[in-house]
C-alpha cells in the first residue's frame, strides 16, 4: 500500500515543481547562451547594464520560486489532502495513517532534494560559462581546469590537517546532516499543520502561530546546546576541538536532528490517528 500511496503522491505533487524547474532550466540555458554568444558585449551602455541587472534579478526570483514552490506544495498538499474535504477520501482508504504520512514525507523530501540539485546545477552552469567567458578561455579548457582544481582540493594536505577526523567521515556526516535536515524541514511543516488542527477556530492561523512559536523554541534550544562550543569554534583551535570533541559534536548534531525528526513524525502520526476530527 505504501508503494501505491507513494506513486499516487508523486504523480499529484509533481506538476507545479516541474513547471518551475522547467522555467529555471529555460532561464539557465538563455543566460548561458547570452554569455556564450557574447551578447552583453555587443553594445555596452547604461540600458544594457540595467537590462543585465533586471535579468539577474529575474533569475534570482526564479531560483526562489523553485524553492518556494516545493515548500508551498508540501504545506498545501498536506493540509488539503488531510484536513479539508479531501480528508474524507484519504482517511477512508484502507491504509495505516503512518503510511499516509510516510508517503507524503518521502515524496516532499525527494522533490526538495531535486529542487536543490536543480538550483545548484543551474548556478554552477551559469557560473562556469560566465567565468569561462570573463577569463577569456574556452569552456572545455575551463572545465578541465575546474575539475583539476576540484581534485586538488580534496587531495590537499590542509583539509586533512585541519580536520582531526578522517575526511571521509566528515563528508558522511555532512551528507547525513543534509538528509536529516530535508526531513526536518518537511516534518516541521507537517507538525505545525497538525498542531493547528487542535485549535477550536482559525486552524490555519494556529498552524502559522505554531510555525513561528516552535521556531523560536528550537532557536533557544539550539543556542543553549551550542553555547559551550561556540567559543571554541569562534577562535578555531584544533587543540581545543580534538578528535573526541569533533565526534561528539557530529554525533550530537545527528542525534538531535534525528531525534527531532522522529519525535515530529510520531507526534503527527498520533495527532492524525488519535485526535482526528474532520468536521
Amino acid at each position: 500500500m505504501l508503494k501505491k500511496l507513494f506513486k499516487q503522491e508523486w504523480k499529484s505533487f509533481s506538476l507545479a515543481p516541474t513547471i518551475t524547474m522547467i522555467l529555471l532550466a529555460v532561464f539557465t540555458v538563455i543566460l548561458m547562451t547570452t554569455f556564450m554568444t557574447e551578447f552583453w558585449d555587443q553594445s555596452p551602455n547604461i540600458f544594457m547594464e540595467m537590462f543585465a541587472g533586471l535579468v539577474i534579478l529575474a533569475y534570482i526570483f526564479c531560483i526562489a520560486a523553485v524553492s518556494f514552490c516545493v515548500t508551498l506544495c508540501t504545506a498545501v498538499r498536506f493540509y488539503k489532502n488531510f484536513f479539508t474535504d479531501e480528508g474524507y477520501l484519504m482517511f477512508t482508504l484502507p491504509v495505516k495513517t503512518s503510511d499516509l504520512l510516510l508517503s507524503k514525507t518521502f515524496v516532499a523530501a525527494l522533490w526538495r532534494f531535486i529542487s536543490i540539485i536543480c538550483i545548484c546545477l543551474s548556478i554552477f552552469g551559469i557560473a562556469c560559462v560566465a567565468a569561462a567567458y570573463l577569463s577569456d578561455i574556452g569552456i572545455v579548457q575551463f572545465f578541465q581546469e575546474f575539475f583539476d582544481l576540484f581534485r586538488t582540493a580534496f587531495d590537499m594536505e590542509w583539509l586533512r590537517d585541519s580536520l582531526p577526523i578522517p575526511v571521509s567521515l566528515f563528508f558522511i556526516w555532512l551528507a547525513l546532516t543534509g538528509i536529516l535536515s530535508l526531513f526536518f524541514d518537511i516534518l516541521y511543516i507537517y507538525t505545525c499543520i497538525c498542531l493547528g488542527q487542535l485549535f477550536k477556530k482559525h486552524k490555519i492561523g494556529g498552524a502559522i502561530l505554531c510555525y513561528f512559536g516552535l521556531r523560536f523554541i528550537f532557536r533557544i534550544f539550539r543556542q543553549i546546546l551550542t553555547a559551550p562550543l561556540s567559543n571554541a569554534f569562534l577562535y578555531y583551535d584544533t587543540d581545543k576541538i580534538g578528535t573526541g570533541n569533533w565526534i561528539l559534536i557530529m554525533f550530537t548534531t545527528l542525534l538531535v536532528l534525528g531525534g527531532l525528526c522522529t519525535g515530529m513524525y510520531y507526534l503527527c502520526n498520533y495527532l492524525m490517528s488519535r485526535k482526528l476530527n474532520l468536521e
Binding site: 500500500m1 501505491k4 499516487q8 499529484s12 506538476l15 474535504d85 479531501e86 480528508g87 474524507y88 477520501l89 482517511f91 477512508t92 482508504l93 484502507p94 491504509v95 495505516k96 477550536k200 488519535r274 485526535k275 482526528l276 476530527n277 474532520l278 468536521e279
Partner: protein
C-alpha cells in the same frame, strides 16, 4: 470474520465537540448483516457524527465502535464503502483517474461496473472533475461507492442534493448493486423516497438511538408509514 456476529457494534458511544457540545450521547447500537437500515433523525441529532465515528473520521470522546469486532482501522475501511454528505473528489483529477485510484486501493472495486454506470449516466470518463457540476460529482461519488463489493455501505444523505429523476436512479443503483449479504446504513431526511427499500429503521434524537425496529413492524404497530410516524415523533 465471523458472519454470525453483527457488522457493527456500538457500545456507550459518546462524542463531545469542543468540550461542551454533546453530539452523540452514550449510544448503544447493533447493525446486523444483510439489512438495509434507515438512520433517521432531525438536523443535529447526531447522524453524521455517528457515521464519521464508524468510519474513523472522528475520534470518540467515550465508548467504542467495533466493525467485525475491531475498532476502525485499515481492516474496517477495507470492508466499508462510505458516501459522505460532501464532495471529496480532488479537483485536479479526471473521472477515469479517480476510478483507477479506487481500483488501486480497494480490492473489492469493480472497474467494469464503474464504467458501466458512468455510461448509463452519460458522464465522460475523460472529464476533469473541476469542470463538473455538484450533482454530477455526487453521482460519481455514488458510482465509486456502489462499484465496491463491500460488507457495509454507509450512505450519508445520498439523495439530498439531486433532482427527483436522479433520485430514482440513485435508489435503483443502490438496490441493483449491493450484495444481499451486505448491509446498507442510509441516513436521510427524505424518508418517503426511501421507505420502500428499508428493512429496519433507527430513530436518533439528541445523540441517542431512541428506536431501532424493523420498518414493517413500525408500520404495523402504529398503523402508518414510517415517514408519517417520523413526523409525529419529531414534530416541532
Amino acid at each position: 470474520m465471523d458472519i454470525s456476529k453483527p457488522i457493527v457494534e456500538i457500545q456507550g458511544l459518546t462524542k463531545i465537540y469542543n468540550g461542551s457540545k454533546l453530539a452523540v450521547n452514550q449510544m448503544n447500537l447493533i447493525i446486523p448483516r444483510g439489512r438495509i437500515i434507515g438512520l433517521l433523525g432531525p438536523n443535529g441529532s447526531g447522524k453524521t457524527t455517528l457515521i464519521k465515528m464508524i468510519n474513523g473520521l472522528l475520534v470518540p470522546s467515550g465508548g467504542k465502535v467495533l466493525i467485525n469486532g475491531e475498532p476502525p482501522g485499515p481492516s474496517s475501511k477495507a470492508v466499508i464503502s462510505y458516501l459522505p454528505e460532501r464532495t471529496y473528489l480532488p479537483a485536479g483529477m479526471k473521472v477515469k483517474d479517480i476510478i483507477t485510484f479506487f481500483a488501486q486501493f480497494y480490492a473489492d472495486f469493480s472497474i467494469e461496473r464503474a464504467y458501466n454506470m458512468l455510461q448509463i449516466l452519460a458522464i465522460p470518463p475523460a472529464a476533469q472533475l473541476k469542470t463538473l457540476s455538484k450533482g454530477t460529482k455526487e453521482k460519481i461519488q455514488l458510482i465509486l461507492v456502489m462499484s465496491r463489493q463491500a460488507q457495509l455501505y454507509i450512505l450519508d444523505e445520498p439523495i439530498a442534493g439531486v433532482d427527483p429523476a436522479a433520485r430514482d436512479y440513485i435508489l435503483h443503483t443502490i438496490m441493483a448493486n449491493y450484495d444481499h449479504q451486505s448491509s446498507i446504513l442510509l441516513s436521510t431526511h427524505l424518508i418517503s423516497d426511501i421507505e420502500s427499500i428499508l428493512d429496519e429503521v433507527i430513530f436518533i434524537r439528541y445523540g441517542q438511538a431512541i428506536m431501532h425496529a424493523p420498518a414493517e413492524a413500525v408500520r404495523r404497530a402504529h398503523g402508518k408509514s414510517v415517514d408519517a410516524y417520523f413526523r409525529e415523533v419529531f414534530a416541532c
